[in-house]
């Protein structure tokens, strides 16, 4: 197999962290150390000891035995919680630091983007910084000259191009920095969370640019915390955890697993022991599930398809009017909606004891893409009382495709808002001089 773009085999990285957790020390120890340690350190220098400061037996493995392949043209996401080794892996692949074990092979011209504006100098003008930063990112002078106008236009800094960047606003500075990076055209691109800077408008612009680059058939390894961005940019995602590859597969699946492990919840939650289930001596919650249109439990939902919120509960005492309800939150903490049960069969009707299953269907083309958290609750009317309220009971992920028939139409960028309804749009063509509507057949 000679056509693999990135081949990673058993990569491991050990960091020495010195003696961080030293035990109790007396002042005398400290004084002795004060006198002795310069001598010891000098001795350490001469021995080329790899950790000149103190004992070196303390080490952590940031990565351990990481292996995967990336085919040319693949756009692969790399996710994992903080400290999972994502950035370390990217630094090894971009040759900034060496692995302790294992090997990797990269075929093709490689570019790295661990931050935007690396090497920018405040005293230099925008023009000078474009050339400097371009050279640092690995572009030739001819390449930069060719793309110069485009970079300036993308950054929207035409007027200030000959002003030192120290006089730029932070927004202008970031735009210019990203504009240079966005015109880097290697065959293989390694990107860290460079999109996590700037305002929302700027982030959208960056993301759209990244999408454009991805469509040009380049191999991209993309590290991010922004799950909607990962699922949108990358068909495939690798989940890193505890220094190793925990999962490698289609992005929406991996993102779903990651989110559910991160939040500790998934699309299905049960309380098998009634005594420990949330609730009161009147009602107890027994299970919350998310169902796709085929009725199966589903963690990821196509934006165009309905999703069912289902709760199972035991009513332990007869004679109450019970109102089950759901609240749905997105990852920004916004409550997208709350809905109470409106099934006419149970309206105003006292319920007898037993197991109940309530399901509420959210129509397709209603929720916005992203991760959603579902809270389940039940009230009684008389006496008015909330019996349980399980805030993040289940979690699911809504995926927006690019097939053109979702509410995003042909728009490739990020759409905001907590919901994304498919509205009833009409557009009429008026004649060129605007005198009146043209009859359409």
């Amino acid at each position: 197999m000679d056509d693999i773009a990135i081949r990673v085999r058993g990569i491991g990285k050990e960091y020495r962290i010195g003696a961080r957790q030293q035990s109790y020390r007396t002042l005398r120890d400290s004084l002795v150390d004060l006198v002795m340690s310069p001598l010891r350190r000098v001795a350490g220098v001469l021995r080329h000891s790899s950790a000149g400061f103190g004992p070196s037996n303390d080490s952590i493995w940031a990565l351990r035995d990481v292996s995967f392949d990336v085919q040319p043209g693949e756009v692969v996401g790399l996710i994992g919680r903080n400290g999972a080794g994502k950035s370390t892996l990217l630094k090894i692949l971009s040759r900034i630091t060496e692995p302790t074990t294992g090997s990797a092979e990269i075929r093709g011209r490689m570019g790295t983007l661990l931050e935007v504006g690396t090497g920018f100098h405040a005293e230099l003008t925008g023009r000078e910084n474009i050339y400097l930063n371009g050279a640092i990112l690995g572009m030739t002078r001819a390449e930069i000259a060719r793309n110069f106008d485009e970079i300036v236009a993308f950054a929207e800094v035409e007027k200030f191009i000959d002003t030192p960047v120290k006089h730029y606003s932070s927004g202008m500075y970031l735009r210019l920095a990203f504009a240079v990076a966005a015109h880097l055209r290697p065959e293989i691109l390694l990107v860290d969370e460079v999109l996590a800077v700037g305002d929302a408008h700027f982030q959208n612009k960056c993301l759209a640019k990244m999408e454009e680059v991805g469509r040009q058939g380049r191999t991209i390894l993309f590290v991010s915390h922004n799950m909607p961005a990962v699922t949108r940019l990358c068909p495939r995602t690798i989940l890193l955890g505890e220094g190793g590859v925990q999962m490698d597969g289609p992005s929406h699946q991996v993102a779903g697993v990651y989110l559910s492990s991160e939040i500790g919840n998934s699309a299905e939650r049960e309380w098998p022991d009634v005594a420990k289930a949330p609730g009161s001596d009147v009602i107890r919650l027994r299970a919350v599930r998310l169902r796709g249109k085929d009725g199966r439990v589903a963690e990821t939902i196509d934006i165009r398809e309905p999703v069912g919120l289902q709760m199972e509960y035991d009513i332990l005492q007869s004679g109450y009017i019970v109102i089950p309800h759901f609240s749905v939150y997105n990852l920004d903490g916004i409550e997208v909606f709350s809905a109470v049960e409106t099934d006419p069969e149970w309206k105003g009707r006292r319920r007898s004891a037993g197991r109940y299953v309530t399901i509420a269907w959210i129509p397709g083309n209603y929720l916005a893409e992203g991760t959603l958290l579902v809270g389940a609750a039940a009230n009684t009317v008389n006496p008015s009382r909330m019996h349980f309220w399980e805030r993040d009971a289940v979690v699911f992920c809504v995926i927006d495709s690019f097939d053109g028939d979702s509410a995003r139409g042909d728009f490739p960028g990020e759409l905001h808002g907590a919901v994304r309804p498919l509205l009833n749009w009409t557009t009429q063509y008026f004649s060129q001089n605007g005198t009146g509507p043209v009859e359409l057949d």
Partner: protein, 295 residues
């Protein structure tokens, strides 16, 4: 639902790979062991980056200073005046038959190239830590760039030196053709020492405090305020182990025509300087793998 798109990504990319496969570079990443190669070929490939780093340093060096580039001249001239007063006038130190100020400035100009270079090179890796942690390039580019950016200052100071020679009516002989050799020797000494110190500086920030002190001592260990002809042979030749001795004696011989027969000193100094450069470069490359982790 994304399937068709993925397919088209891949087919297109394979085509691109085929086009590029003629020159497709394979980068192998694995732990290095022991002494590693200097990779001078790769260094050459990054010469454009070297150019831009030098260009940046030169452009930025005297920004926001009142006197600007005049500093490049003030430094050696003021030092020369002070040294001429104390060592020439008061201490009456001999100067190989040349007016003392000229004798002194001829040494100070290459000395400043050396000491400023050493200072910049020693701190270069630490000062460029944000680059080193964020992007790959042959790390040797940084110290070499720091060394070369001092060359503009040297050129300006050298013009002042030529003016001084005219003032004293001193016309250089054909020996002046050897001058580039001594400038090269200065750069080699500065870079060789600086490579050792810059690599050490990454781990031990003490270097930042050692360097100015070391330069001060080194100045007096070099025949700048006095002629090496004060020493008897064979000590004078052995003195050449300090490569700057060869540089200074050579420069005086080339520019002022001092009749001190510096040949043996220069040979010893050249060997010492090359030993410093080669050992410094290998030490630097050996330590390089840890730079990004600890800088």
């Amino acid at each position: 639902m994304n399937e068709p798109q993925i397919q088209s990504f891949q087919t297109r990319a394979v085509g691109a790979e085929e086009r590029a496969s003629g020159s497709a570079a394979i980068i192998r990443i694995e732990p290095s062991r022991g002494w590693v190669s200097l990779k001078l070929g790769e260094l050459w490939k990054y010469r454009e980056l070297l150019y831009f780093l030098v260009w940046r340093d030169v452009k930025v060096r005297y920004k926001q200073t009142v006197l600007g580039v005049a500093w490049a001249i003030i430094q050696p001239v003021v030092t020369m005046i002070v040294f001429s007063l104390f060592f020439g006038r008061l201490a009456k130190i001999p100067s190989d038959g040349v007016p003392y100020p000229l004798f002194n400035l001829t040494a100070l100009v290459p000395w400043n190239l050396f000491s400023n270079g050493l200072n910049h090179v020693s701190n270069s890796m630490v000062d460029s830590s944000n680059l080193i942690k964020k992007i790959y390039f042959p790390r040797l580019v940084v110290p070499i760039g720091a060394l070369l950016s001092g060359f503009v200052d040297f050129a300006l100071a050298f013009i002042v030196l030529l003016g001084m020679m005219l003032y004293y009516g001193m016309i250089p002989t054909v020996n002046v053709l050897f001058l580039p050799l001594f400038i090269l020797l200065t750069l080699i000494t500065s870079l060789g020492t600086g490579l050792w110190l810059s690599a050490l500086n990454v781990r031990y920030r003490d270097v930042r405090y050692i360097v100015p002190f070391m330069i001060q001592l080194w100045l007096f260990a070099t025949p700048i305020v006095y002629p090496s002809s004060m020493l008897p042979e064979p000590w004078r030749t052995i003195y050449g182990i300090n490569p700057m001795v060869g540089v200074i004696e050579g420069s005086r011989w080339a520019l002022l025509g001092t009749n001190t027969a510096p040949g043996p000193i220069i040979i010893v100094s050249s060997i010492a300087a090359l030993a410093l450069l080669v050992s410094g470069a290998y030490y630097f490359r050996r330590m390089e793998k840890t730079f990004a982790d600890i800088v």
